[in-house]
Symmetry: C2
Subunit: 534 residues, 2 copies
Amino acid sequence: MSGEQTASVPPTDRVQIFDTTLRDGEQSPGISLNTEEKVEIAEQLGRLSVDVIEAGFPITSPGDFEAVQAIARAVEGPVICGLARTHKADIDAAWNAIRDSERPRIHTFISTSDIHIEHQLQTDREDVKGQARAAVALARSLCEDVEFSPMDATRADVEFTAEVCAIAVAEGAGVINIPDTVGYTTPEEYTRYLRRLYELVPGLEDVTLSVHCHDDLGLAVANSYAGLLAGARQVECAVNGIGERAGNCSLEEIVMLLRTRRGEHGLDTEVDARELARTSRMVSRRTGYVIQPNKAIVGRNAFAHESGIHQDGVLKERTTYEIMDPTTVGLESNSIVLGKHSGRHALRDALEQLGFKVEGGALNQAFKRFKEIADKKKQVTALDLEAIVSDEMRERTDSYGLAWFEVEAGSRREPNARVAIRIPSGEESVGQASGDGPVDAIFGAIRDAVEADSELRSYTVSAVTEGEDALGEVTVMLHAHGRLASGQGVATDILEASARAYVRALSNALDGAAVREAEGLTADAAQLPTTPGP
Amino acid sequence: MSGEQTASVPPTDRVQIFDTTLRDGEQSPGISLNTEEKVEIAEQLGRLSVDVIEAGFPITSPGDFEAVQAIARAVEGPVICGLARTHKADIDAAWNAIRDSERPRIHTFISTSDIHIEHQLQTDREDVKGQARAAVALARSLCEDVEFSPMDATRADVEFTAEVCAIAVAEGAGVINIPDTVGYTTPEEYTRYLRRLYELVPGLEDVTLSVHCHDDLGLAVANSYAGLLAGARQVECAVNGIGERAGNCSLEEIVMLLRTRRGEHGLDTEVDARELARTSRMVSRRTGYVIQPNKAIVGRNAFAHESGIHQDGVLKERTTYEIMDPTTVGLESNSIVLGKHSGRHALRDALEQLGFKVEGGALNQAFKRFKEIADKKKQVTALDLEAIVSDEMRERTDSYGLAWFEVEAGSRREPNARVAIRIPSGEESVGQASGDGPVDAIFGAIRDAVEADSELRSYTVSAVTEGEDALGEVTVMLHAHGRLASGQGVATDILEASARAYVRALSNALDGAAVREAEGLTADAAQLPTTPGP
């Protein structure tokens, strides 16, 4: 870009959404998604019509490789991208994981900041240039679509970063992504940085410039937006803004910012915004990461005018206090209500309307669960169905299962629990424990039944819908078998939901442990990454 | 401002923090703080060294008036501000509520956008000018320090807004605040708007320009920052970013943005950042509004590098992935640990270190509670003490109390609960119920005991600290006596915490109902506000 803004703006006003929920988001502490769950989220991202799904970092573990491969095979529409350091082993693993996609992309990165080069990579600038050149060339020999990121670019010397980017462009990278890896930059500074790159990097105007911003100072959305105004046409973001530390640019916020202010700048994405609310709920449920009530776009209050003094203006004229219509992001748009007399056919239709294809044995199982809950709840809404089906999908992949439990508690006695667990052999194992409270007693009884050591790290409960007979959803994060793992459970009974969640978290920890054992065999050869990525 | 940025920048680089947690934040659905809790939060804001506390909107209810007055009398240091529409009754109420403060401020506002003028105020521009002139003149006749806000300014004609602001300046307003009431503007647009105001409003460079931004599009912090770069020297914000809809600019984010990037722009506040984490926890606990793990600065993961691949870089050199030291915002800085053998003296010292002055009967009560919990938990940490003392402080203000409860539950039987409630007369009333789960049964038994109708709206549980024997903290939001109210409870037993939270929410609903009954008598005379404020 040579001074004039227009010179650098690509002919199109279409912004590409690059979703990194399953890569940067999934690296958050305590998130442990299995392959089935990752595919489910990727399919929902497809319905949302994102342009690129960064499905994982295949070299990091056999589990990650398997998940990226499954997504590449199952999800049609978006580009499927795998992350790789500049090492040959990383790039080979990324390519092997994504090659079955109709539209594969390899994303390779290396830091250009001196602080990373010195302390993280323990090398020098010349070596970084050589690694970038070799990596992009290798990736291009395998795959047409290659993206390159100079990690920690915003804290790096812009001249050196430009040299490295010029090498990547010369070697055939079609996307150059400029990450604010530590969430340090500001809109003006980022704008200056990107404009300077347009001046320094030959051919940058012929490739797609991309932005990847972290939210450590609360500026991820604003910095991404500034980057788009400076000429970028891809934004890397994650659902609910999850990701390393304070997370990434929130997908729903940047999408609705562009759409709501489209008249101002002319930019827009092809995202189907009506899927935003559901995508947000799915990711929150699968990751166990709650959404605060005042979160923009998808928080419980984002559109709320509950108290009397607020409703007045909204009732007089909606636009008085609302700049977006909640139905455009998929809130308040679904009126599915089933009851205890609804049949299997009605359930299947309702689930289809929600985007779940459930047939055969899975439908029978879901119907059984639906009936149990419909007996207790007067109305089963779309939100309830989502939670039930999500819960059932988890059930099928568990190593352990909850058979039954019973508990006695109160303020005048020590709580006591008995729990029966179905173990992988098919038998039931019964455990018993007392504790500080009934949940503690149940968790103790589970540990007694499965004879496992584990330490609870966090425990959260929320209600799926409003009202007295709401379903409770419990998320447990625990440390077992040398790793953090989380599990969720849904039930009208909070103790049952807690027991389910704990049993699942234990199952996930065991699965993870098995994967890591397999990894142990190849760890040296693969030189496992010690960097979190952009 | 006449083109050159330097001309408009005030001589000082000191940014004033105007905290509106207790006004805009407290207007969020389901938040119901009583006077004692508001004073507690205001005192903590004093320890945080904010410059201005907007303590409430005194005309809206006798309860709000009483709370603002109590804060004006109790809290030394910050300016204490009361909000008022342009009506005489509002301004009189605001002045009467704050006049006992050493540093009182009246904040009056009226909309300048045509959409608000037409639909909300149902008047015309000339009338708005007249109302603004009269209101600022009246306020100045009562109070030296007067702030004026043209509500919905960012969607209003800038020329008209400038005319109204010029009137306010001419009448003696010392602070002109430009609200982005609906969270619609962007950093460049807001910058242009403020620069144009500097050109159009005579004397604007001699008063303090203020920014007030909402987060509907995820830009509240960035817009506030842009406003400061354009010459504003006061930023209106709320702890945890709470407030109408998606909330206000987050106090902790703008404070740490300014401090971390101080070298870039030279601006800073006088906030004691080491109090940020505690302030955030207090507001989250009192309001029942959870903080998502990836929230910047105060989220559980904001500084986290838990997984192996992240720790590597951090261990090699902290600045590789961290731009802020967690201890500077008050995280990981407290090492208080008490156990079951700690005495009353140790408890009092620990509480003092945490900023709680607890003496006499309150200390005895806190010590009793501490002993009960220390019997169950090996270590009682600073976070636990905060939760226990917060819980005890609530107890003293409740109309109802939990005497005892017992429950039997399991997957093979219907849960059943018995609960005894201490009613205001001092007697115990016992209720019994079954339900969908043990919590549902307990809530039913409470309703049975107090013979009250209420509907549960939300229910959340979180752990105060990590580990197996963590304290559970339950927040209940319910609808009773025609209003939303919330309550919290803390215990090692989740069922006990749930029962406490429900009983408190009911107490709060009753208190609120009593206040509203008193209001009914004066509602016509006071012309209760139908606008939420800036």
